[in-house]
């Protein structure tokens, strides 16, 4: 068990080093940092001085290691556009994105699993089939359109919810949160749904398919034959067995929620890292882009690690390192 965890941690670090390498290559070779910093009209002396200061004459691996070393100390260089340290910009904006992602993920997981279980249990029911058909909308409509539609209905027509921004936030020093004010919470609803809708339908359809598969298993029939209540059979026996594949996908989707919050943040003018990234792309702000890449990469690796550890919690067969799947 410990061995599995250690091996898994080792793999995570390897992947992180590779992500850092790609991020470094972008940082170092996309555009010319000297031109970007000094502009075209700088004298050769000033250029040489800067090249020396940035260590651009050092061998590649030295530059890479010093890049990683600085990244570990949360130093991603200076933004070309705002001349702020990139790390400060990220810290400033990350809470907004993470809170939005958290709300979306909870919405997607909770509604997705519940609706998935419901549609699997009432396979022939009218409501279940309606949910299933309308879920196609969630899969096929593009995010920005859903966002705009929601704004139109709930902000413009009904005037219930704000159409942009985070509302009032409370500054906790290291973190600004919208969870503590009414307007902050109201502001989270529309972007949260917009961002999580696709993931929700995906998780719902996956849960349904897995649940139907599990309900055909002998141990479900045996559980019924033992005279257990339907509720116990569904939630005590079937649900846990559907969770392993659902968690895999949900984990990956959670990463996507953060990584691709860009569109939702643009639609709702959400002051998060996605919006920051889009602006960085407009202005070819290389350090911000490479730091964002590193951030998203780290997030994915972290989530995958957690998912793998969750497997061990859920499935005792994996805990014992017995990987052959006898007994369905």
């Amino acid at each position: 068990m410990l061995l599995i965890i250690l091996r898994r941690l080792g793999q995570s670090f390897l992947v992180l080093f590779l992500v850092a390498f790609v991020s470094f290559m972008i940082f170092r070779y996309v555009g010319n940092p000297v031109d970007n910093l000094l502009g075209q009209e700088a004298t050769n002396d000033r250029r040489d001085a800067l090249i020396e200061a940035l260590g651009l004459n050092d061998p590649l691996h030295v530059q890479y290691l010093s890049f990683v070393g600085r990244a570990l100390q949360f130093d991603f260089g200076i933004s070309y556009r705002t001349a702020q340290p990139v790390a400060d910009m990220i810290i400033q904006r990350l809470p907004a994105t993470l809170e939005l992602a958290l709300v979306s993920a909870i919405f997607a997981m909770f509604v997705g699993v519940v609706a998935g279980v419901y549609t699997a249990i009432n396979r022939r029911g009218f409501i279940a089939n309606s949910i299933l058909s309308s879920s196609l909308i969630g899969v096929s409509l593009p995010t920005f359109l859903i966002g705009v539609l929601l704004i139109w209905v709930f902000s413009v027509e009904l005037k219930w919810l704000p159409s942009f921004g985070r509302g009032d936030v409370v500054d906790l020093g290291f973190w600004t949160t919208g969870f503590l004010t009414v307007s902050g919470l109201k502001s989270l609803i529309l972007p949260g749904i917009t961002l999580g809708l696709y993931q929700m339908t995906l998780i719902m359809r996956l849960t349904r398919a897995e649940m139907l598969e599990v309900l055909r298993q002998d141990y479900i029939k045996f559980a019924r034959a033992r005279g257990l209540q339907d509720r116990t059979v569904y939630f005590g026996h079937a649900l846990k067995n559907t969770l392993v594949p659902v968690i895999t996908i949900a984990g990956l989707q959670l990463g996507s929620i953060v990584a691709f919050a860009i569109i939702t943040e643009t639609v709702f003018q959400w002051p998060g890292v996605g919006l920051m990234f889009i602006n960085a792309v407009y202005f070819v702000d290389i350090p911000v882009m490479s730091a964002y890449l590193l951030l998203v990469g780290t997030l994915f690796v972290l989530i995958n690690l957690i998912v793998d550890l969750l497997y061990l919690v859920i499935d005792p067969r994996l805990r014992d390192g017995q990987l052959k799947r006898t007994g369905g």
Binding site: F222, A225, L228, D315, G327
Partner: protein
């Protein structure tokens, strides 16, 4: 031994498919006495398992009990099988590798079953679970082990402990040893028989293995194409079969005594008819060497309390 525990009256199980209605069990009547072990034999698709599923009320749609009555302890139960399922009637399935939930400990599944049916505290349920494991020959200290930590034979012991945990009056064992090694089969079968005899529990043992039936059951019911072909005391039916189908079954059962070396095994010609293409009259008539004109037109009832065959008409 004489009191009737379970009675099936004209049980009929049908499946509605696009090609029409199929009768998986057709007009089946039989009784199970208290403490008795009744074997049900027949080929695949003869309706044995369907009969078991019908009694416990677990036929998967589109199948359903379309006719007939099921009486248990003088109560009609076919309308609400939940009332006795798991409590008075329990079931053992064929494949122990898939019968247990792989993600929950065996103790957990035992305790859950006991708590669902009996008015006991958690601690008492746990003690009963440990006793149950001991009875089936499993170290009770393994109560917190997961199913994958047990072998197939051990898992079937756990399944038997589960089936007996609520002290049911009837256990339906659907091919309980088919998935096990031959040497383990005998152990598991003996265990099931011993425990049920001790408690006076009735058993319906569904199998296609004549050897299993011979060793275990008091009475035997032979099914063919969803219908009862022959029923009687095990010794009687096996040594002196009346229905030509039972005779064929007996003749085609391999034996290992000295005479049978090098001999070719008897086969019943043809195959069991599909349920959507049953012949008129007796379902067995196209394969029967003794069939006569009436067999092709009229379906025989059970004659002389023994066999559904027109040959019995003169005997009765």
């Amino acid at each position: 031994m004489t009191e009737t525990l379970l009675e099936l009256k004209g049980l009929e199980v049908t499946f509605t498919t696009r090609r029409g209605t199929l009768k998986a069990v057709d007009d089946l009547s039989l009784t199970v006495k208290r403490g008795e072990i009744l074997g049900i034999v027949g080929e695949s698709g003869a309706g044995k398992s369907m009969t078991g599923a019908a009694i416990i009320g677990l036929i998967d749609p589109p199948g359903r009990v379309s006719n007939g009555e099921i009486w248990f302890e003088q109560q009609r139960v076919d309308k609400n099988p939940e009332s006795m399922r798991g409590r008075q009637v329990s079931m053992v399935f064929q494949d122990p590798l898939t019968s247990l939930n792989p993600l929950r400990t065996v103790g957990d599944q035992l305790v859950e079953t006991i708590l669902a049916h009996m008015d006991v505290t958690k601690a008492e349920a746990l003690q009963r679970a440990r006793d149950g494991l001991t009875e089936v020959g499993i170290d009770p200290d393994r109560i917190n082990a997961y199913p994958h930590a047990f072998s197939g034979g051990m898992r079937q012991r756990v399944v038997i402990a589960l089936a007996l945990a609520t002290e049911p009056q009837l256990v339906i064992a659907d091919e309980p040893t088919t998935a096990l090694d031959v040497s383990v089969q005998a152990q598991v079968l003996d265990l099931l028989k011993k425990l049920c005899r001790e408690r006076g529990t009735s058993v319906i043992l569904i199998t296609h293995d004549m050897g299993v039936i011979a060793q275990t059951s008091d009475r035997i019911a032979v099914m063919y194409a969803g219908r009862l072909a022959e029923i009687g005391e095990t010794r009687e039916v096996l040594t002196n079969p009346q229905h030509p189908y039972t005779q064929g079954l007996m003749a085609s059962t391999p034996s290992v005594d000295a005479k049978s070396f090098g001999q070719e095994l008897f086969q019943i010609p043809g195959a069991m008819p599909k349920l959507d293409a049953l012949p008129s009259g007796c379902a067995f008539n196209p394969r029967c060497s003794q069939a006569h004109a009436r067999c092709q037109t009229d379906r025989p009832p059970i004659l002389a309390d023994r066999a559904a065959c027109w040959l019995m008409e003169n005997a009765s």
